[in-house]
Amino acid sequence: MKSKSFDTKKFLSQNGIWGVLIVMVILLTIVRPVFISRMNLQTLLESESIKGILAFGIMWAILSKGIDLGPGSVVALVSAVVASLVQQTGVTGRLLGENGLHLSAPLAMLVGLLIGAVVGLITGVIIAYTQIPPFIATLGTQLICRALAKMYTDRPVSNLEDSFRWIAKGKIGPVPMIVVVFIIMYILTAFLLTQTRFGKNVYAIGGNSQAARFAGINVEKNLVMVYIICSVCAALGGILLAARTGSADPSSNGLMYETDAIAAATVGGTSHSGGICRVSGVLCGILILGVINNGLVLLGVDDNMTNVVRGAIIVGAVILDMRKNVKKA
């Protein structure tokens, strides 16, 4: 029954963004051939993995016609707490006392993910049951989590166990662990989005929450789940950040990460009017922002200019997105 004719127009409108990425890669390779080297590509992926995982989380919030501004601060909170639990013992200046509480790496990570889940649960319940705009509710999360992180420790937590740092720095074959985790999260997100009821529910809620409710979907429960996932992704990001840098600084960790993640999801075609998104698009958005960050450093472009370019690309992506939807309506 499936029509076999190939819809070129549809294919282009859905995948045109990959074309943009390819053009960028080609141009950069011509100007700086070293861009395409294995070392540099690996660097690029390693640098974008954390924000990428955040973007996979934020994608859910945007798909449900919401937004989450909390992830950057959740990164700070979780990285600080987890780092303090896996600090080498016997070192002076250890946050939890020289021979205080110390957990094995997997256990500490579990604690971190749990913190993320709790933050997401609270945020989600507030959004779903009081119907405050998500922008406001998650702004609260952002401020509170950052403050909690700073209250937890006023100085960077460093000297972390190597067993913990392996989660980011270890390698499977030639691939760094952090990239492996990123790929696993991609697959998991894609699976959840396209192969489960939950995914379909969120599409429906973002597309028309009233219709979803009348179709027997528990809108509130699903929204809470969305914000839990978003926060857990951020928590995972926080764990990876601590493992990667070997330190957790509550005041600077994860600062503005949500902006980058929202940008990646948006550039990747996740519509802020809800109900539209493709994981492959978000992946592409992450890579595009990564190529911009990496490429502009390689080209030796001034840092302020880098932000100008990023800002322009985000606004451009949203304009395109809106035009696409206006045409359909």
């Binding site: 600084d249 600077s252 390689l298």
Partner: protein, 345 residues
């Protein structure tokens, strides 16, 4: 109906939390006064921080300890990087009848405004030097306690100059990792370091455009990595602080570059920084004496009220105008690092 009750409940819980938080803060300050000694009674002073970070926390903790010893009633406020808020705090302190206020400027160019708002109140500026220093020079009520940012940069330059002069290398390429662009300390540290290199007869050029990493270790790793993996040639890394310097070291090690061959210099003398110097990962760092500044501002407060020279009771150097106390940077190399290991504890 249910929803509105839930909403109400949330608001109540939040408010309760806030009140609890505030009351905790209050009781802490109160305990400071009640434990106070007998000298210099009834001096109320507020330290208005630009924001809370590691350095500021150490400074304000030392100030609190000194205040306790000397019996000064000491409170800390956080202006959260908001110059307008900072001015509000100054006005509050004035309305409260405090004799002195200590200000860690959010924006060094607002010093004049702050002095004006302070009225009869005496002002101690700490750490960040006012852009227009006439507010200090022309005003009897205003003094400054802090470190000379340029001195820290100069020490970085000196370390690198010695390193390369020893090798007999006169021309070097450097990678510069900066803090938040436009920060006063970023400009001063960088300029002083480069000027020192030149003065020592080393011709230093950029290996690539400076990268701004907002004082953050993770950002330094992200931005420095592509430079290294692109095989850019450079002889050393100059970082505006320790966190970013350590990030750079991470990147070098990941790419099998020995930081002993390609030296990295940090600044601040944080525990991580000192440890990295001991491990020969950083060539050097230099301590901005947070504790010294903390002690210095309380002593200056007491001296202002009692009419003594403002460095009375300390070893810190007073400049010729008698209104500026310089707390020196202390360069940390491998041989003296041991002395600084416990500095923060």
């Amino acid at each position: 109906m249910k929803k509105s009750i839930l909403g109400l409940l949330l608001v109540v819980v939040m408010c309760a939390g806030l009140l609890l938080g505030c009351s905790n803060g209050k009781s802490k300050t109160e305990s400071t006064d009640s434990d106070g000694g007998d000298s210099s009674k009834d001096i109320n002073v507020t330290l208005i921080l630009s924001a809370r970070d590691e350095f500021n926390s150490i400074m304000s903790r030392e100030a609190e300890a000194t205040a306790k010893e000397t019996g000064v009633n000491f409170t800390v406020q956080d202006a959260t990087n908001d110059a307008a808020k900072q001015i509000q705090f100054v006005e509050t302190a004035r309305n409260n009848g405090d004799p002195v206020v200590i200000v860690y400027l959010v924006d060094p160019s607002t010093a004049g405004e702050i002095v004006e708002k302070a009225g009869d109140m005496k002002v101690v500026f700490v750490n960040r030097y006012p852009t227009d220093d006439s507010v200090i020079k022309d005003n009897d009520n205003v003094v400054y306690v802090g470190s000379n940012e340029s001195q820290g940069g100069e020490q970085q330059g000196e370390a690198l100059a010695n390193f390369f002069n020893e090798k007999g290398q006169k021309e070097i390429k450097y990678v510069l990792i900066q803090g938040i662009l436009g920060n006063d300390s970023v400009i001063k540290r960088t300029e002083a370091c480069l000027a020192k290199l030149e003065a020592e007869g080393i011709k230093a050029t950029e290996a690539t455009a400076p990268i701004a990493c907002d004082w953050d270790r993770a950002k330094a790793i992200d931005k420095f990595s592509p430079i290294v993996s692109a095989n850019t040639e450079f002889d050393c890394v100059i970082s505006n602080n320790d966190a970013m310097a350590i990030g750079a070291v991470e990147v070098l090690k990941n790419n099998n570059i020995d930081p002993k061959e390609v030296p990295v210099v940090g600044l601040d003398g944080t525990p991580d920084g000192v440890k990295a110097v001991q491990n020969e990962e950083l060539l050097m760092t230099t301590l901005q004496d947070a504790k010294g500044q903390g002690k210095g501002i309380i002593m200056a407060t007491i001296n202002l009220v009692e009419g003594n020279p403002i460095n009375d009771g300390t070893d810190y150097e007073l400049d010729e105008s008698g209104k500026v106390v310089w707390i020196a940077f202390e360069a940390i190399y491998k041989d003296n690092a041991e002395d600084f290991v416990d500095y923060y504890n």
